[in-house]
Symmetry: C2
Subunit: 305 residues, 2 copies
């Protein structure tokens, strides 16, 4: 069976035109090199070198072989290098998923941008979907990593770590009585302040989300919110708020949507109503771009559980 050793030896002998010198360069003795060359010639079934009184010279068949051997040896090196680059996350591809509510979080956008800067060779594919669909997609190998909102059961085969808890804000029409004109920041609002308000909440068809968390928090605050409207997406929710049809509660990062006619007021932390952001990926020993991306996210967060 031909091995790369044979190619390396043949190339060196061809370069030196001299078995003894080639052996020296290869760090072995002359007799084993002679044998290996002979062995190679037997395997190939052709004389590759003609033995001269002083040294050896390639036959035409030998030149054919050695020329190709050089290329093959180079290809092996290239293959190893490419594999290493891939493993280091310098090349390859990474499919990143996120929920619509995570799309605007600076951590997400920053991490994606960082990956692109650190490893320009990585093809990044972005996918926006609901938490449950993202989990599904992770399982189906459609995406490699996802930013999701809680609650996420620690389902098997997946590794989910909480990155941070976002504070929640009340979104209300800027004509609302709770909005102090001219002052952009006011003191935190208590959930109980909203007991008499009409709520506009968005609920996703699949799985529990903010909806249930908000209902539960209101319950803890001693009232049951009047949910006048529901909307399928966040943007439509905010539209309804702007139209003065009620108020809503959204994570901090989404207040960046500077929508006309909407004011954002911080909720008191003691309401325990927060929007956690999780990073999820298959719990395989991740390497390559995925590992790098996880590291980037970890570094961007004070601590990652």
């Amino acid at each position: 069976m031909i091995e790369l050793r044979h190619l390396r030896y043949a190339v060196t002998v061809a370069d030196e035109g001299h078995i003894t010198r080639a052996a020296e360069r290869l760090g072995i003795q002359q007799p084993p090199l002679s044998q290996q060359i002979r062995n190679l010639e037997d395997l190939v079934g052709a004389t590759l070198f003609q033995r001269l009184p002083r040294g050896v010279a390639l036959t035409e068949a030998g030149r054919t072989f050695v020329d190709r051997a050089r290329i093959i040896l180079q290809d092996v090196d290239l293959a190893v290098e490419a594999t290493r680059r891939n493993a280091r996350g310098e090349e390859g591809s990474l499919a990143i998923g996120f929920t619509s509510s995570a799309a605007f979080h600076p951590l997400v956008t920053t991490a994606v941008r960082s990956l692109g800067e650190i490893s320009p060779g990585v093809r990044i594919k972005l996918e926006e979907s609901s938490t449950s669909d993202l989990i599904e997609a992770l399982r189906a190998q459609l995406i490699d990593v996802a930013f999701v909102r809680s609650p996420v059961e620690q389902s098997k085969g997946l590794s989910v770590s909480k990155i941070l808890d976002e504070e929640m804000f009340v979104a209300l029409p800027d004509s609302h009585r709770l909005v102090v004109k001219g002052a952009r920041r006011t003191s935190p609002i208590q959930l109980s302040d909203l007991a008499d308000e009409s709520f506009i909440l968005y609920r996703r068809p699949s799985g529990p989300g903010f909806y249930d968390a908000i209902i539960a928090a209101c319950g803890r605050a001693g009232f049951s919110p009047q949910v006048k409207h529901e909307a399928p997406r966040l943007m439509s929710t905010l539209s309804l708020v702007a139209a003065g049809l009620g108020i809503s509660i959204i994570p901090n990062s989404m207040t960046r949507l500077e929508t006309n006619g909407i004011a954002y007021l911080p909720l008191d932390r003691r309401t325990q109503l927060v929007a956690p952001l999780h990073l999820a990926h298959r719990s395989e020993p991740s390497g390559g771009a995925l590992k790098l991306f996880i590291e980037i996210v970890s570094r961007a967060v004070p601590e990652l559980g």
Copy 2:
């Protein structure tokens, strides 16, 4: 050091997705295969397979490696095949030299045509020159084989074998007294019949050739020929003959030149004046197209010394 064995193993494991089955296909046991895969991963410096509860699966880096490994293994096979074809004389190149007096011999043209038919992949290069220049060219590796006329000293490093002896013909103006009109063939002519003729001979600047052989044969026949004219090339010699300025003596194969005004009459064999044709090549153990060509020539000749 990475060997082809590693590539073969990795490809098989990737194909089977299963180390045990791959080992079976490779004709080895599972533990050594596991070890070799691990060993390869260490050499490359990346995890190529993720171990699953049932079987193994390629990592992205692993796919990069295996994809390239397949190509490399194929390239090795192709290299071996190409080398064999070259050694068998199915590919490669062959530079063939011949003297001008051999150019018209059917053996030469037939052999060259046969090579082209048997091995269309061989690039054939033809070179016409004098015997001594051809010998020179053989030494300088400019040509690989040559058809030459005698005498050729059995010089070192070269192998020269006589292919055949061509009978000689007398070329004379068709108005000559010796030419029997209407009869194309006459009984052989004796050299002594030509004792009173004017000879036109061609002599090459380098080395002895027919010139001396003819003079010597005439001497044996009991006369010294009157060399009225000399010409540098055969064609000009024949022109002088056609012009009626004298006669000449040429090898059989050259009588194919149906020149107007010239008649060719066979010389009696007993004159011992013949034109030997030799095949010369470097006495290296010849392989490839050269070996094939020598075989073709040998086969075309009753026996080759």
